[in-house]
């Protein structure tokens, strides 16, 4: 897939290994995401999806292998450094600032030097997806419900004006109607030009909006291909789509 274009992929993960102590969690993982693509990353619980995203964003560093973003080697950059390059990670466990209000959270995450128009259009986009947040701008994040916090987490990522989003279970704990809306919204954000690597247990919905997908099993990439093809794969249907 990636090879079809001569251009360099926006994100290239090459032969990454990673262990927690003795437990090997990622084994020689390679994948790539082209500019403007929406790629889904599927896998059962404990397969290593979260770990991979953390390796990419710089929350952790691969034991070996390389990660390139926009042509640059970012393997050992810290998370704030990849953020500066436009690679924004929305983590599975949210990692919010409980004592801050939503407004303060947004202010922190908005890149400095962005002009006012851009900032307000970012905000509009967020409130369009999560209308519930607008009325809660001054509520402390720590007092919000689980689902509300999930919304704040995703919004914080969007306020960072990303070139590429790493989304780890963005619909976790959200009510069904909202979860569906958000997947729609991710699709729209992608169409508007943001590259996306999406981890989701809602495999079918994810494949619906994805261009391509990878399947991670026990730390290894076992399948990859265009979303439509994977959706037909027996293996995927059985394991991840529940069929």
């Amino acid at each position: 897939m990636g090879e079809t274009t001569a251009r360099e992929p926006l994100l290239a993960v090459e032969g990454v290994d990673f262990s927690y102590g003795r437990a090997r969690v990622l084994r020689d993982v390679s994948l790539s995401v082209e500019p403007g693509e929406l790629v889904a990353l599927l896998g059962s619980n404990g397969a290593g999806k979260t770990t991979l995203l953390e390796n990419v964003s710089g929350l952790s560093t691969p034991d070996s292998g390389a990660i390139r973003f926009d042509g640059e080697d970012v393997t050992s950059l810290a998370a704030n450094e990849t953020w500066e390059r436009g690679l924004v990670h929305v983590p599975e466990d949210r990692k919010l600032f409980p004592e801050m209000t939503i407004a303060e959270t947004f202010a922190i995450a908005t890149p400095r030097g962005l002009d006012d128009d851009t900032v307000s259009s970012l905000r509009e986009r967020v409130f369009e997806i999560f209308p519930d947040l607008e009325s809660r701008l001054d509520q402390r994040v720590g007092t919000m419900s689980g689902g509300q916090q999930q919304m704040v987490s995703m919004s914080r990522g969007l306020m960072s004006d990303p070139d590429m989003l790493l989304l780890d279970e963005p619909t976790l704990g959200l009510a069904p109607d909202l979860a569906a809306d958000i997947l729609d919204a991710i699709g729209r954000i992608n169409e508007a030009g943001t590259t996306v690597l999406l981890v989701s247990q809602q495999a079918l919905s994810a494949l619906d909006i994805a261009d391509r997908a990878y399947v991670l099993d026990n730390g290894e990439v076992t399948l990859s291909g265009p979303a439509t093809e994977l959706k037909r794969s027996d293996e995927v249907r059985e394991a991840y789509l529940g069929m």
Partner: protein
């Protein structure tokens, strides 16, 4: 017989009225679901039942006694166990040790050695026996959720409150978790009230489902009825979609031939 009965529960945070008169019952031996939009007050309700918060108004009756103003420790000993939506294992303890406090203080295991043995049995039940000696902070989120189930069971509860224990599970794991919960009800004789956004799970595992929205219970019925309830679709499931919980995926693409059981609109 109703094991748990909530009558006209009201709760506000500052100026924000979250619960405006919630009444519901949980029949002994049943698995009762509780769904509702984000921020509806479901977790708050759990906090009220387990005693971590006090209701502004209303009554909570558990197993025939009024527990509205009882302290958490007593409610736990009375037989209410719970898990936390944002998981809270005892982080520095091993998985096995996590179960000891509940076992000795509410589960009736006065001898520590017996408690340790029982802890292993419970870990086995939730499929964590392999991780018995790991520090619980190192577990993945789904493992922590299962640990919390075991820890709640350690108090030998009559009623188990589960807050989104299906969130983030793959289809395979959802199926396994459903078995686990069925087993807990059937074999351990525990009544279960669970909050869930994973409709696939809710609809399969629950005998009845209550829907909390706008501060009250807007519907309460068997799952099949709930998914067709106009109001519920409107505030929670999402309108204009295919059936949820029974088959078709809401965002079904041209590949209509690929249905996704359970809608997968989970969290």
């Amino acid at each position: 017989m109703a094991l748990l009965e909530l009558r006209d529960i009201e709760k506000s945070f500052g100026g924000l009225r979250v619960l405006e008169g919630v009444s519901m019952t949980v029949e002994e031996g049943s698995i009762q679901g509780l769904i509702g939009p984000n921020g509806a007050g479901k977790t708050t309700l759990f906090n009220l039942v387990s005693g971590l918060l006090r209701a502004d108004n209303g009554t909570i009756v558990f197993d025939g006694t009024d527990i509205t103003d009882r302290a958490p420790k007593h409610i736990a000993r009375d037989g209410v166990g719970r898990t936390f939506q944002l998981t809270r294992p005892y982080p520095g303890m091993t998985t096995q040790d996590n179960l000891l406090p509940g076992l000795v203080y509410a589960g009736g295991y006065d001898r520590v050695s017996e408690a340790r043995a029982r802890a292993l049995e419970l870990l086995d039940l939730v499929d964590l026996a392999d991780l018995a000696h790991e520090e619980s902070r190192d577990l993945t989120m789904s493992e922590q959720k299962r640990l919390e189930i075991a820890r709640a069971l350690a108090t030998e509860p009559k009623l188990l409150l589960l807050d989104e224990v299906f969130a983030g599970l793959s289809h395979e794991d959802v199926a396994r978790q459903i078995e686990l919960i069925d087993g807990i009800r059937d074999e351990l004789d525990v009544t279960i009230l669970l909050i869930e956004h994973v409709m696939e799970a809710t609809m399969t595992v629950c005998d009845r489902v209550g829907v909390l929205a706008n501060g009250t219970i807007i519907a309460e019925d068997v799952p099949d009825e709930i998914v067709h309830d106009e109001q519920v679709i409107d505030v929670y499931l999402g309108s204009g979609r295919d059936e949820v919980g029974t088959g078709a995926d809401s965002d079904a693409t041209p590949d209509e031939d690929v249905p996704e059981t359970g809608g997968g609109l989970d969290g």
